[in-house]
Symmetry: C2
Subunit: 323 residues, 2 copies
Amino acid sequence: MTTVAELLQPVESDLEDLLSNLRVLIGAGHPILQAAAEHLFSAGGKRLRPGIVLLLSRALSPNGELGPRHRRLAEITEMIHTASLVHDDVVDEADTRRGVATVHSRFSHRVAVLAGDFLFAQSSWHLANLDNLEVVKLLSRVIMDLAEGEIRQGLYRFDTGQSLDSYLDKSYRKTASLMANSAKAAGVLSDLPTTELKSLYEFGRLLGLAFQVVDDILDFTADDAQLGKPAASDLASGTLTAPVIYAMEEFPALSGLIEREFNEAGDLEQALALVHQSKGIARSRELAEKFSHEARACLDFLAPSEAKSALLDLPGFVLSRLY
Amino acid sequence: MTTVAELLQPVESDLEDLLSNLRVLIGAGHPILQAAAEHLFSAGGKRLRPGIVLLLSRALSPNGELGPRHRRLAEITEMIHTASLVHDDVVDEADTRRGVATVHSRFSHRVAVLAGDFLFAQSSWHLANLDNLEVVKLLSRVIMDLAEGEIRQGLYRFDTGQSLDSYLDKSYRKTASLMANSAKAAGVLSDLPTTELKSLYEFGRLLGLAFQVVDDILDFTADDAQLGKPAASDLASGTLTAPVIYAMEEFPALSGLIEREFNEAGDLEQALALVHQSKGIARSRELAEKFSHEARACLDFLAPSEAKSALLDLPGFVLSRLY
């Protein structure tokens, strides 16, 4: 199985530059933020989001080179993503993320709120200074989607009336919007025509949805160590994802357990057993496969390059996490 | 003594429209945010910031009318201000603001972080859709200044080495930047020449600094009921403002009390007595008077109008809170 690092190899040194730039941009002059920035940007996250922007930017460049505006766009993408993670961890009261202590548990609520705000503020500022109004609109839409997605996730907790569509809408806002709009923004900075911009947007959207569905399957099939958090923690906290939404169609009893918020002994175990007995996980896998397949097709217009090959491998890589 | 409501009378109905617009924009479709929005936009805050934008916009308009883009700018100004208050209250762990429960104490940390993020996100989005890159830059600078100001306030806590300049720099970021840049942005939307834009910026900057110095004096001279919070709470929490910085020059013993963070019985009372014995409050008042006086002079270029008269009364009004 390929690793993310192998996939992102064509932009490996670009990503290293990006991380050291981000540490300087964020930490400068503020000892506590600097510690938070070290913590955030050294923890060895996957850097998938800026990686996609960098790969696309190289694939779109006639000579394969990367301009300063595309680099800055990748940095902004990672800033926005990191800011939203830091605040989501406060909102969800998560103590760890991928096995690493969250900013608010390592430092405090205070530092986490400030660090997130500072990252959002920096991203807005650098965004404006890309001097491209369309890019500003695309990325400020992302910031709004992230806030709305987190709010909806809270509203839909234990809500068995939600449909697959509302789940996908929430997943778009929380995960796919950033990939879709940053991919399109890379194209805008490369002066692509509208049809190709649409393809880039669709690539990011479909890849993001595949990524989220796979994540939601893994919550049921992987163990604590693989996830870096307790397995089935989504269901336990009332966040209903694709496998559960499909399973509820098959076993209406599951809805009852969820509606009473697993408040009787054995409820959660019984609910988990029903999800595993159902076709929910298999159907979710088919859904992720469909998204991945469609994502690949969006890149047909790109000229062959090392970066394009890596991009074409991404949707398959996302699925490979399931096997 | 004039009230804010009297001063803002020329834009009273504009401000009512703005508030009902904000309630709709923020609350739509999210029951909890709607409750938070009601709480935030009905609490009868002074609305000084959007009021200044609206007065300037009317003063700059040849026929005294207000266009939709100037209205939107005023809304964005209030969104950014409110978002920063909500997050500052989380960071400062304040339970009340002007006697009213804060969002995080009335609802939860979760809702306060989400509501602030949502307001910042909405402001970025509406900002981008004003379709003016210069305005985007001015207001995203404000968002960055607000985050930096709050961080510096935390860093400088109990730091007796700070100068009047670093205090003014922090005050600019926390208070004056929003007034300065939103005033300038109103001018940008009215296509003013550079020298007049600079005057608008200076008007907002000087008014904002006067406002902050007056606030910091009132923390020592007003009582709990007038402030809506315990008097001298800035000093108690280690936030050193103009009166204290001047008083430390006169009475070096004050620095010692601050450096040991008032950890012996009677320290805080003794520190307060030294501030009151010193010329700190009188010198701070002179500083605020100087800023107010200079602010008025920035508006010389405006043609006479009801809105201009109100704007000219603002700096004096800010000072009148001291008497």
